[in-house]
Amino acid sequence: MSFVAVLAWVAVLVVAPNMLLLFYSVLTNRSGRATTQLTLDNYVSVVTSDVTPLLLGRTLVTAVAAAALATVIAYPAALFALRNLGRHRTLAVLLMVVPLWISYLVRVYAWKIILGDSGVINSTLAAVGLTDEPLSFLLYSRFAVLITLTYVSIPFVFVTSYTALERIPPSLLEAAEDSGASPFRVVRHVIWPLSRQSAAIGFSLALLIAVGDYLTPSLVGGLRGTMYGSLVVSQFGIANNWPLGAALSVVLMVVVGALLLAVARLTRTEGHLE
C-alpha cells in the first residue's frame, strides 16, 4: 500500500511536471501561444544564442562559487560549534538556522541595505574617512549576487554538515589522535572523509538554490548581475514564450544534474558508520 502511495506521489509531483516541461520545450510558440507542432527549434535557439550560453556559464560560475564559499564557511563553523562550544552548541545551531525563518525576500533585501550607496558599509567607510564617495561596485553587481547567495546558502550547508559531524563517534577521533594524528590530520583523514558526503548534499542544495534564483539578481544584481533564472522567468512572463522557457529550463536541469552527479562522485566515501 505505502509503496503505491509513494509511487503515486512521485508520479504526480515529480515525473508529471517534468514530463510536462519536457513536452512544452518541443512545442512551437506562435505569438504567445504554444501550439502542438513538435520542433527542436527552441533548443537550437538556446544553443546558438549570443547571450544564453554566456549567461549560463556566468550563472554556473556564480552559483558554484556561492555554494563553495558557503561550504568553506559553514563546514568549519559546524565543526567548531560541535567540538568547541560544549553545551552551547545547540544555541549555535539555532542561531545559524534562524535566518531560514525570515522571508527570503527580506533576507535578500537586507543586503541591499548593507551594500547600498548609503548602506551600512559605505556610510561606515565614509564616517571613518576611508572613502570620499560610496563604493558603487558593492551593490548592483555580480559581487552583490555572490555575497547574497553565499549568505542564503550557509544555513543549508551548516545543518547538513553538522548532523553528519555529530554522527561521528568521539572514539574514532580519539583513536586517530592516539595513532599519532595531529588535530589537523584528524580532520583530514577521519572527520572529512566521514562527513564530506553530507557536506556535498549541503553544497548541492546551495547550488540548486543559487542556480535557479532570479529574485536575488533582480534585487541586488543590477544589469551586470543578471542570471540565467531571470531569463527563464522572462520567457514564462513578459516574453510569454513558454516553449523557449521550458527549453531553457531543461538545459539548466541537464547541466546542473551532471554537475551534481560529479560532486556526488567526487565526495563518495567507502564504508559507513554503524
Binding site: 563517534p169 589522535e177 599519532g180
Partner: protein, 358 residues
Amino acid sequence: MSATQQRAAVVSLDDVTKGYPGTDTKAVDRVSLDIREGEFFSLLGPSGSGKTSTLRMIAGFEEPTQGRVLLDGLDVSGLPPYHRDVNTVFQNYALFPHMTIQRNVEFPMRMKGVPSREAGARSTEALESVEMAEYGGRLPHQLSGGQRQRVALARALVGRPRVLLLDEPLGALDLRLRQQMQLVLKRLQREVGISFVYVTHDQGEALSMSDRIAVMNKGRVEQLGSPAEIYHRPSTRFVASFIGRSNLLPCAVEALGDSSLAHCGDGITVMLPAGTPAGQALLSVRYESVALTEGGASGGFPVTVDEVVFLGDAVEIIGRTGATVLVARTGGQRGLRVQRGDSVEFAIHPTGAVILRD
C-alpha cells in the same frame, strides 16, 4: 624504589587526582603507582571506580587536576595523545569505517611518516600476529566483533608503543570469544614484550592474565599486588568481597605468644600468625577455605546446614551456628551427600583467613 622493583617503571602515576567541574567527588583520588617494563598490569574495579579515567590520563585524553603522569620517567603533563608513545585499544574497537583493514593498521605509521612500503610490510606482519592477514582488503563493517577486536589490537601494536592501554576490550564479546581473546592477548603480550595496562571489571580476566592488579574503588587503589596476593591476601573489605567469595566475620584477636587466636563468636576460633594486632577486627575467609570436616577435627565447630548449592565443579554449603552464617565451598564428593537440615562440622583453614584493615 623497593627491592621487588627490579624492572624500570614505564608509566608512573604520582599522586594523580581527577575531578570534574560541578562535582565534589573525584573520579580518581590520589593514585600513585608504577607500571613496569613488559608487565601485564590490570586496573580492576566496578564501574565508576576511576579505572577508565586513570587509563585516559595515561593516554592523554584527559589531564589530571592534580599530580603527574610520567612516561619513562618524563612528566607528560600537557602532552597531547598524538605525542605520547602510548596506544589504546578501545572498548568499541573504534576502527575507521572508511578505511580497509590494511589501511586502518597502516594509519599509525602513516601518521609517523614511515615510508609506505615499510608501513605495508609492518601492518601485514601485525595483522598476521592476530591471524587477520587475509582480511586486509575488507572494510570494518564486514567483520565480526571478535575480528574487529583483533584488528584494533593490530593497529594499536603496529607502532610498537612503550605501553598498550586496553579499555575493557573484551566487554562486547560473548563468553567463548572472550576466553579465546584472553589467550590471544596473553600470548601477544609475551611475544611483543610491551607493557599492557588492562582495564576491566571482570575479576576472572584480571586474575588469569595479569602480572599485577590494582583493585580500584571510588577513585582509589584499594590494593595492589599479584593475582595470588589479591585473591588470597585481600587487605580490605572491598577487595575481599569484590574478588572471589568470602565470609566476613567480626572477631576479637588475642595474642598468644607464638601465635594469635581470633574469637569470632558462636564458638568459632581461628589460629592466626604471630604479630597480628590484638583487638577487634574483621576476618575474611574464602568460601573454599572453610572445610567440611569429620567430627572431632581440631578447630572444627558444629553447624546446621541451611542450603546446599550445586555448582557443577563444586558444592557450596551454607551452614549456621548461632547468629553466624558461613559458606563452605567443597569440590569433594562428600559435599554431595550433605542435605538441608543436616548437622555437620566446619573448620576454618588458618592459611585462608585474613584480617582486613577497614
